[in-house]
Amino acid sequence: MMKVSSRQVDGVVIVDLSGRITLGEGSTVLRDTVRDLLSKGQKKILLNLAEVTYIDSSGIGELVSAYTSVRNQGGDLKLLNLTKKVHDLLQITKLYTVFDVKDSESAAVASLK
């Protein structure tokens, strides 16, 4: 089960995710959240994955889809605070070369402004 909440910092939307991003609810929640933000014109998005415990292939697909959707609308999406497991997953799938991953929230927000 995944929980999600979002907050605004200096024009950037920080989406705090916790739980699992997997086929079914987790992937759907992420997709709906990003779609909702884009529909409101909020295109600078920081996904905080500090509390995300597990991502499966479907969840990876949703992260990629969220990234391309935001970029296609002229925005940017970055990742914040990866756990070791999620970091390793992005390494083996080579998505570490695609996503801009940050460890500091303030630095991440500054880079998106």
């Binding site: 086929l23 499966d56 990629v64 391309t68 070369t97």
Partner: protein
Amino acid sequence: MTGDRVSYTLESTLESVNWAEQAAEQFAARFGLQDDDRQEFAMAVREAAINAVLHGNAYDRRKTIEVTFAREPETLEVTVRDQGKGFDVAGIPDPLAPENLLKQSGRGIFLIRTYMDEVRFRKLNPGTEMVLVKRIRGKSADKEKGQS
């Protein structure tokens, strides 16, 4: 020695995917697979179940998947069978190729191969059989030897 063996027939649903993952976690724990290996084992079984339910049986409720866990002397083996149209493993695009990195799907088999020591495929009529093999290493193997 044929080892312990347990088999389940499951509906083609998301619940079955979650169930298979939990069963894998319990099976791995029962035979002493250590933390990282146990997680990888469960993650691989989840991906295989997704493949069978979603890509194989296409959520068709009239079709089932069969998941069999077996403990062999030096390995844990999982066999996942579906009743779908089958697929050509060699034809799966490389998800690490630059032109495929931004594709939404196509990483399941790659992850299974990453998490397991050996993966075998066989065409059924109809369907596909996938056999996943994870070696019991280090403390896990020692523990099992001590118990046998």
